[in-house]
């Protein structure tokens, strides 16, 4: 009798333990430089470090996150953790609609996602991170059926000039970046308050005025990639079809001048011109990196 109960308990426990295995029956590998990641090792790490936010099934519904409108609505995280089942990723070097490269995912793990609750996982070993990437790939069939897109070409950055910044400013108007990011880059444009991500959750455009880092990196190259690839799953579209590479660099140079709290070559140069100095002086920094000063 007693053994029977024990057996039953064992069966239940085994079933519970086996569930993650079933969810990821497919074994995956990742290749980051010389390191090869294995999903079975990544699984141990995922169910230690990641699932509280990304969820037991990797669908972004971890216990640390509750969708808007759910009861009680007290989310610890105001940006929903990535849903690995959907297989749509913000930070990519590849065109909109395509899978990121494994290196892109690895870079996100190293860097963390600025203005979200995703920290940098620099504390893990390179092998650990590669293993996690391999495991994350088991959540979506896209990784089996599709290949990552070809990374977009980022040409060498041309010399920074005042004309380049000026032209970038014209593009900011012409391409209507200000509709969401605001005329002064505070993330308070006329459409800002209505934005939702692809899961119908409110989302805020980037506030350039605070901080130096972007969602997907901190360098000029990263900034170039962000608007050329778009951030899939968010309102930020790809401009790859509508901006020529040389124009794209002009836009990068101008966008840097919107980061008035971040000392950059662009800000210094722009501040040394009469027009630029007036513009920068007129900007009163407002809001926080997550745009929490913006009414929604």
């Amino acid at each position: 009798m007693r053994t029977n109960k024990l057996t039953k308990l064992l069966i239940v426990v085994t079933a519970l333990l086996a569930a993650p295995v079933l969810a990821s029956a497919q074994q995956m590998e990742s290749h980051i430089g010389k390191v090869t990641g294995h999903s079975e090792s990544g699984k141990q790490l995922f169910y230690r470090y990641c699932w509280g936010c990304h969820g037991f099934r990797g669908d972004g519904n971890g216990e640390n996150w509750l969708p808007t409108g759910s009861y009680p609505y007290m989310p610890y995280l105001n940006i929903q953790p990535r849903n690995f089942v959907a297989g749509t990723f913000k930070c990519r070097s590849t065109p909109t609609g395509s899978l990121p490269t494994e290196q892109d995912l690895y870079d996100s793990l190293v860097r963390g996602l600025n203005n979200s609750n995703m920290p940098s996982w620099i504390t893990l070993t390179a092998q650990n991170r590669a293993d996690l990437i391999a495991f994350i790939k088991t959540f979506s069939a896209r990784w089996k059926n599709d290949k990552p897109g070809d990374p977009i070409n980022v040409p060498p950055e041309p010399k920074l000039t005042g004309e380049s910044i000026k032209h970038g400013q014209e593009l900011y108007q012409k391409l209507e970046c200000w509709k969401c990011h605001g005329q002064e880059g505070f993330g308070d444009g006329p459409s800002a308050s209505t934005l939702t991500d692809s899961n119908d959750q409110p989302i805020r455009p980037y506030n350039f005025a605070v901080g130096s880092r972007f969602k997907c990196g901190a360098t000029n190259q990263d900034l170039y990639k962000i608007f050329m690839t778009g951030l899939d799953g968010t309102p930020m579209p790809s401009f790859a079809d509508v901006i020529k590479p040389e124009d794209a660099w002009d836009l990068v140079h101008f966008l840097r001048t919107l980061q008035v709290t971040h000392k950059s070559a662009e800000l210094t140069l722009w501040g040394s011109t009469k027009e630029g100095a007036a513009q920068i002086a007129s900007r009163k920094v407002s809001g926080t990196p997550t745009g929490s000063g913006i009414k929604q």
Binding site: A86, T88, T96, G97, S98, D146, K174, L175, E176, K179, C180, P190, S191, T194, L195, T196, S198, G230, D232, G233, T234, P235, M236, P237, S238, F239, A240, D241, V242
Partner: protein, 237 residues
């Protein structure tokens, strides 16, 4: 004018592909889509944030989640053959198109065949971003500033995909990616017609963005014309 051309192109696609499939002398299925009950009242759209678009609509247009006509006609229902017809071996050569005009998608529902070229046109003097919220196909999101030429895309799996513009949150359309060219979208009178069908047993599905889908089995022998009707239950909210 652009819209009319778009419709004409769509009709041409339909005609060309069905002729290729069955010859002009098949049977056909036609009928009407209606609703019963009280459909949700459509709300007028405030476009004051985009004056260029607001000016194009002296009377504000309304949302289009349910568009009805006289006699309880239900418009914008995609009626298609979901079983019984072979999948298209190659997509129709003619593209289908969607035009962004007056901050509205024209037409509101764009049916197309898997891998058929979809042309996206911006006829407005302001930017749009076209963002199909695909779940089965790949989600993408592209900016289209004024004056940029149309771009082409395609979807490689059947799916009903809601389309939105994040800059203008009221803009809403639907892509219907289907397996074959035997489809129709119900018009203002709720009418539809699926011509040029060879004899056979078909499952006809009617899909509406707010009311879901219904199916009916129809058998066609010879050149006969079958008439069927779909009635959707309207919800007042």
């Amino acid at each position: 004018m652009r819209t009319k051309l778009g419709y004409a192109a769509g009709l041409a696609v339909l005609a060309a592909s069905t002729i290729g499939f069955a010859g002009p002398s098949g049977g056909s299925i036609s009928g009407k889509v209606t609703y019963e009950g009280t459909p949700a009242r459509q709300k007028p759209i405030d476009m004051s944030k985009e004056p260029g678009c607001a000016q194009q609509h002296p009377t504000p247009i309304t949302t289009e989640t349910v568009v009805v006509g006289p006699g309880n006609a239900l418009q914008n229902v995609v009626v298609y053959i979901s079983a019984g017809a072979p999948d298209e071996s190659s997509p129709p050569a003619q593209p289908v198109s969607i035009t962004q005009k007056g901050c509205q998608y024209l037409p509101h529902v764009v049916p197309m065949v898997v891998n058929q070229e979809l042309k996206v046109v911006n006829a407005d003097a302001n930017s749009h971003n076209i963002h199909p919220l695909a779940k089965i196909n790949h989600e993408w999101n592209k900016s289209q500033p004024p004056g940029t030429p149309p771009f082409s895309e395609k979807f490689d799996k059947p799916e009903f995909i809601p389309v939105k513009c994040n800059i203008h949150p009221w803009m809403h359309g639907e892509f219907a990616v289907l397996k074959n060219s035997h489809y129709a979208v119900s018009g203002g009178d709720g009418g539809f017609s699926l011509p040029n069908l060879p004899p056979g047993k078909y499952t006809i599905t009617a899909w509406h963005e707010s009311y879901g889908e219904q199916t009916q089995d129809v058998t066609i022998s010879g050149n006969e014309t079958k008439t069927i009707s779909f009635v959707f239950k309207a919800k007042p909210y």
